[in-house]
């Protein structure tokens, strides 16, 4: 618990100097029958694609989605233009 909290703290500290929230857009799938989605999610940790993959994998897996790839990371500025494409999956996970 303490460990988790400290990690969160480190994450917040790491993110805060940038001054803005960090987001990643990704693609995921579900098998049998094949379902695909494009989504946007907020990152709590470092604003890198590696971290995005690490963070999103368990979040998506909890809902039976399989992460295919991370397209990129961006800040508040890129959020609005992706809202339509992501649809239901905009900031859902």
């Amino acid at each position: 618990m303490k460990h988790g909290l400290s990690l969160l703290l480190v994450g917040l500290l790491a993110a805060s100097p940038a001054g803005a929230a960090c987001y990643a857009d990704y693609k995921a799938k579900r098998d049998d029958p094949l379902r695909l989605h494009y989504g946007v999610a907020e990152l709590r940790g470092a604003c890198t694609t590696e971290n995005a993959a690490n963070e999103l994998l368990p979040r998506l897996a909890a809902d039976d989605w399989q992460l295919l790839n991370i397209l990129g990371v961006f800040e508040d500025a890129g959020l609005e233009e992706r809202r339509d494409s992501a649809g239901d999956y905009f900031l859902r996970y």
Partner: protein, 243 residues
């Protein structure tokens, strides 16, 4: 060459019939195993090479991942529909697979039948040539003691009491795979022990039997003399019938 021929034919008629059968059996077995193996291999290759149900999904998924611009909701939906129609098609592939399997089973059965018939043809040909060489093949030898007749391939021969007795003794010995000497034949017919009987008496009985059946041909085809051992019927024991 003519001097060799007699010995050769005797050797061939005794051993080749058995050898041919063994050889034939081995060929049939090997052929059938080969057919089953080849068709099983063909089936395995066919089934392994048929695309599985997930091939379409994998392709669509790769399309989705590789194109970064494919992010719109409608586009993603379209991809899902594509994958579904692919899956539907793969279900029809399953029925193809079953059809192929049934056809392979048919092919196996037909090929096995073909091999069996081929071997049968070869065996029949061999038998035919054997019969042609031998001239006469004894298919049935029926001894009717009470009517004093013997039926050789449905040719009916009348015999004397003594001759029919001799023939019956030889037939019984043949069924037990025994060779009887002249003295033994005489012993069986007269009821005395073989030591008390004369070899010449048995030989005379054989001679009379051959005489009444038609000497030389019969001695080659039917009542054969085995050197230093005695006499036996030179026919398959399965064809002998006693009435």
């Amino acid at each position: 060459m003519p001097g060799l021929r007699k010995g050769e034919t005797v050797r061939e008629t005794t051993s080749s019939a058995i050898e041919a059968r063994q050889w034939g059996n081995r060929v049939v077995l090997a052929g059938i195993i080969a057919i089953v193996a080849i068709l099983a291999m063909a089936a395995a290759i066919l089934f392994l090479n048929l695309p599985d149900a997930n091939a379409f999904n994998a392709r669509v998924e790769r399309l989705f991942v590789e194109n970064d611009t494919l992010t719109g909701q409608a586009e993603v939906k379209l991809l899902e529909i594509l994958a579904q129609s692919g899956t539907a098609f793969s279900e029809t592939l399953d029925s193809y697979r079953f059809v192929i399997f049934v056809l392979l089973v048919f092919a196996t059965a037909l090929l096995i039948a073909a091999v069996a018939f081929l071997v049968m043809l070869v065996a029949l040909n061999r038998r035919m040539s054997l019969i042609e060489r031998q001239g006469i093949e004894v298919n049935t030898l029926m001894i009717a003691r009470d009517q004093k007749t013997v039926l050789l391939n449905n040719f009916e021969f009348k015999l004397t009491d003594a001759a029919i007795e001799t023939l019956a003794v030889l037939a019984e010995a043949r069924m037990d795979d025994e060779v009887l000497s002249g003295a033994e034949i005489e012993a069986v017919i007269s009821g005395r022990s073989a030591e008390q009987c004369d070899e010449a008496a048995g030989a005379t009985r054989i001679k009379r039997l051959r005489d009444s059946l038609g000497n030389q041909m019969i001695s080659e085809l039917l009542v054969k003399n085995v050197a230093r051992k005695g006499y036996m019927l030179a026919i398959d024991k399965a064809v002998i019938r006693m009435v």
